[in-house]
Symmetry: C2
């Protein structure tokens, strides 16, 4: 089998009809085996607000009570997943939309309260949680798994998790390349200058740029996650056009 | 391969935690190849109301504008589907939750306006719409497809449809037995007397009972659908404990 790629798209693509269509057209055209990972946080927050709820995010992770879980499952595994699959089918991609509970692709533990914070129905995913055998079966049948970041505990409980972590864990477990499709060209030394793109980044260079304040905010967990995937078995990792090196 | 059964459950089971748990325990225990079909209309109506919308049903079919479509996809393919899958997994069933867009299991046409009524994003499903090859592939891999009544048109458009029609079309296309799991024991001659169960029912007997007013209401489309499945290739059909005969 040709080298497998795990692509991860964020809400800026998954939840914009025009960007999603353009992405799906390009993704469908690649002949290699592939898996697509996504979340659906923008839609989940929109529904929470329509339900009169206030989304409660701590460090980018949604505090998930029973009703919030139902909403995230509806948003991620329902509309976002099936809308992506239908759009991929339009471009001839043999997509199959799944959550981590399906065929037990990802069985995770419920996160224990951390530093006094109970995140509720949130799962912690590691490469060891990934059922690589069933993914191989689906890929061998010529299917393209489209995986949302809803997982289960194996005992009937669905759990909400994070698409970056799902993507890096799947890539590491499958020894695949991880392609984080990103709203910017990649890691930039100057956010306002697309010419300042970093082509290759090592972990020590990342840490130096972080210490200098050049890399900050949401880029830090994204890069930490990418380097972790490399360390745990991903064959390559890129954030946009920036290639990570251990 | 042993004989395949397509089971269809209604909202009374799919949307009641206790009944769903009991059903899943029993369904998981059956060793034969099987497919489960469900909708999610109760939850869809609940969300429509929370969104300040008024569900518009004509002859049991939901008039589906773009926002209603998004809600039905979230309800059927999101919460209902994944909750059923997680519950089946608890009982060791290798369930995989899917909608008709996934692997293009069901590609249908958008219903044309009928008698002046535009149903919107509603699909009409027939046995010819069913991709039997991909269902065989999944079943051969030991997976149990859990299929909700959301389909697609192959050109990027999701469509809402009816779980009874999906179940009968899949059973007919696969030459499978159709088991409509039902809130009553089966077809009753007296709704208040479970002892009045009809063990076997032919189409002419059905029509005579309908003419006499003994069979009425929602039972009529359910039986029409069952007899149609038999006619189009299902190996057997039962509505609860009542076995249909051509």
């Amino acid at each position: 089998m040709k080298a497998l790629t795990v692509s991860k798209i964020g809400g800026n693509i998954a939840e914009s009809p025009e960007k999603l269509d353009a992405f799906c057209k390009q993704f469908a055209a690649s002949p290699s085996p592939k898996i697509l990972v996504h979340g659906g946080g923008v839609l989940a927050s929109e529904i929470q607000k329509k339900f009169g709820m206030v989304p409660n995010m701590i460090d980018g992770r949604r505090v998930t009570d029973a009703e919030t879980l139902r909403i995230t499952v509806m948003a991620y595994a329902g509309w976002c997943n099936k809308n992506i699959v239908a759009t991929l089918r339009k471009y001839g991609c043999n997509a199959i939309g799944l959550a981590g509970c399906d065929a037990s692709i990802i069985k995770a533990g419920k996160r224990a309260p951390l530093n006094g914070i109970d995140y509720g129905f949130v799962g912690d995913v590691t490469p060891g949680c990934v059922n690589t055998e069933v993914l191989e079966t689906l890929l061998s049948a010529g299917l393209v798994p489209v995986l949302c970041s809803i997982v289960h505990d194996g005992n009937g409980q669905l759990l909400n998790t994070n698409a970056d972590t799902v993507a890096s864990s799947v890539a590491a477990a499958m020894g695949a390349g991880l392609d984080c499709v990103f709203e910017h060209a990649g890691v930039l030394l100057d956010q306002n200058d697309p010419e300042s793109l970093v082509n290759e980044l090592s972990y020590s260079e990342f840490k130096a740029l972080q210490a200098a304040g050049t890399i900050s905010g949401g880029m830090i967990p994204k890069l930490e996650n990418g380097f972790k995937a490399l360390e745990l078995g991903a064959s390559s990792v890129n954030i946009g056009k920036t290639i990570l090196k251990i």
